[in-house]
């Protein structure tokens, strides 16, 4: 069958592609949207976030340890939810929001710029990351600094997860929280900005001080960076899993097994 054909594709979603290109952005939107809903629910819950020595990663670091029991920072507006999770989550949430991988994911899934490769966006304006608010994506490295700081406190909480009332011990929960933190650390260390700061901005490693060490660091982070998407997803799921684990233990629905 022959027929006249325009060279430019039509409106939104127009494509010559035959595969189910919409599945990937749809799944991404569903899962990412689901995580946002879950994280907000968990933060507003403001209870059952600890069980024995375990602390949910959404509530780590333990602000009661840092600020004192029952102390709430003064100066916060009255509308600010009185949940420690909201004092913590801005950093990892902002880090993921400005992450180079997640940007790809949600630009495709939520803003459809583009919905998929070779699929029309329709006749819509586009300014990329040149104007407010998306120009703020350039502050990703500052959220990296905040998350690196947070990781230090969170690993301290991981260590506390092995300290039971009768001394050192290992429970399934200890391993769940430690595993989650390992995955979060892997995600952070595979960050594009960290890779740049560690050595990416160096053109000639043999010309600078500590060049060989920086080159090795850069190569190591680059190897991790190759799997940044994988780190992003598994760490996200692990946070939900760890929070659910602590919640179910705290509610008495699940019994934590002591291994040592």
């Amino acid at each position: 069958m022959n027929g006249s054909t325009p060279l430019a594709a039509g409106g939104f979603g127009a494509t010559q592609r035959r595969d189910a290109w919409w599945i990937e952005p749809a799944i991404t939107a569903f899962v990412l949207g689901g995580f946002v809903v879950y994280a907000n629910w968990a933060a507003f819950r403001n209870r059952d976030f600890s069980f024995g020595p375990y602390l949910s990663p959404l509530y780590s670091p333990n602000l009661e340890h840092l600020l004192g029991p029952g102390v709430w920072p003064s100066g916060l507006p009255s509308w600010f939810p009185r949940s420690p999770a909201f004092l913590i989550m801005w950093a990892p949430a902002g880090f993921r929001l400005t992450c180079y991988y997640y940007r790809k994911a949600y630009y495709r899934s939520f803003t459809a710029h583009p919905p998929a490769c070779g699929v029309s966006e329709g006749n819509r304006g586009y300014r990329g990351e040149t104007a407010f608010p998306l120009v703020l994506q350039n502050l990703h490295r500052y959220l990296l600094y905040a998350v690196l700081l947070l990781l230090g406190f969170q690993w301290y909480d991981v260590a506390l997860g092995f300290r039971f009332e009768d001394g050192f011990g290992v429970g399934v929960g200890s391993l769940v929280i430690a595993g989650t933190m390992a995955l979060l650390t892997g995600y952070t260390l595979s960050c594009h900005s960290l890779r740049h700061l560690a050595g990416g901005k160096v053109d000639c490693f043999s010309c600078v001080r500590f060049g060989e060490a920086r080159r090795r660091l850069f190569l190591g982070l680059s190897r991790m960076n190759e799997h940044h998407m994988l780190w992003a997803w598994v760490s996200l799921f692990s946070v939900i899993f760890a929070d659910l684990y602590v919640l179910l233990c705290a509610k008495g629905i699940w019994t934590d097994l002591r291994l040592l």
């Binding site: 010559q16 035959r18 040149t130």
Partner: protein, 246 residues
Amino acid sequence: MSATEAVFRVFRGGREGGEMREYRVPVSPGMVVLDAVHWIQAHGAPDLAVRWNCKAAKCGSCSAEVNGKPRLMCKSRLDSLPLDRPVVVRPMKTFPVIKDLVTDVSWNFEAAKRIPPFTPRPGVEWKYDQADADRVQEFRKCIECFLCQNVCHVLREHDKKGAFVGPAMLVRAAGYELHPLDGLTRTGFLREQGGIGLCNITKCCTEVCPESIRITDNAIIPLKERVVDDFYDPLRWLWRKVTGKG
């Protein structure tokens, strides 16, 4: 249709438009789309225009859209395509059609001229370690097929050719900017004339690259980070103001 025959719907026309015409092509083992196009040329459509050269995925000439996906025709094996429906072959959408499957890609060469060229540091010794060359060698694999330019939505959908040089040219710029002997800073160019902020790193360029260059991760994002260093990092800005350095 027999199992050893495939139907191809090929764009025939020019800049003003055209039509899709069907051709029945016998299929043989190992055949690629470019083979089918050559068969069509040889058996009934000698005026079918197609640009090709090496047939080995190294010259970057036979870029087109096969079933809506930007690909090299010489690298698109028929046994990887569903042949129960016609195989649709169209020219690259982002560039003006000259005739049939041949597009005018000259804009890319004009964009390349806009990039400040490799500029060695004054008095530099023309010698460097392989370890320092590793990063830029990846960019030398580019065969200038312009599939990445074609699939980039900034050029394809929004036609911002005046404001954005495109992923292939950012790879070229990275090849200069990250070179161990280069002494020029291109961040100002990248931010203004290069339009790197228009790239929202959706990685379609990386997905279609037949040379598997990690365009987004290894070229565009490192350049974006350098632009951040020079224009969007408030602490660095303050440091420069206070110390007058860098």
